[in-house]
Subunit: 104 residues, 2 copies
DNA sequence: CTAATATATGAACATTTGTTCATACGTCAC
DNA sequence: GTGACGTATGAACAAATGTTCATATATTAG
């Protein structure tokens, strides 16, 4: 095995990876993730907590839903959102550690 | 200590976190990161490898430099780029694992 | 010095993105 | 059924983004 270069990532993998990072790469969505990392919240709870309109929150939640970052659970007329899985929390926390730890 | 809600992240932390994710959230930059995760590369090597103009690569590398994701090392007239630290590699690989693992 | 190479930068442009506003949908109480 | 509430969605618009092209800077060879 003599210096065999590994192939670059396939385009679909690259795209999916970029999509995940992209959806995490907005301050509003980071704040939503932060709030959800402490437990599930309804749309209007998020809106109140983050001082945003419910519409704005709903639009962002759709993006987060489409990329499987969060999931929704209906209860009566309220819909509760939470982080979709442990991976998301890990990724979020890893990024947070990177930032808090001296920014570098 | 009765149900004391932890404070939300400070704005500067949120912004820094979003900036890190944002800079990772583009297919071209993901491909650059992928290439650099295998070792340092010069600008023109990256351009050749990824079939991009050197200008486009250079512009993207600046973004990655500004957010401390990659670092540069000059050697003669070439400049070699590499991932800035282990954290970046960890974050990249964690995201990759999330995507490859069924992404679900 | 000049010429050639490697990289960086600025302007321009089309595309994407995030918010607001208005409206629609779905659920519950009456 | 009606009305109120919680949420979702579409259109519109300003702001941000990524690429291309042209030009500038830096290094080396001669």
């Amino acid at each position: 095995m003599v210096d065999e270069p590994q192939p670059l990532l396939r385009d679909d993998i690259v795209g999916a990876l970029a999509d995940i990072f992209k959806v995490l790469g907005d301050p509003t969505r980071v704040r939503i993730l932060d709030a959800l990392s402490r437990g599930e919240r309804s749309v209007c709870a998020l809106a109140g907590l983050l001082r945003l309109t419910e519409s704005a929150v709903s639009h962002q939640l759709r993006l987060l839903r489409n990329t499987r970052v969060v999931r929704a659970r209906r209860e009566g007329r309220m819909i509760f959102y939470s982080l979709d899985d442990r991976h998301v929390l890990t990724l979020f926390r890893q990024g947070l550690r990177h930032v808090e730890e001296g920014g570098r």
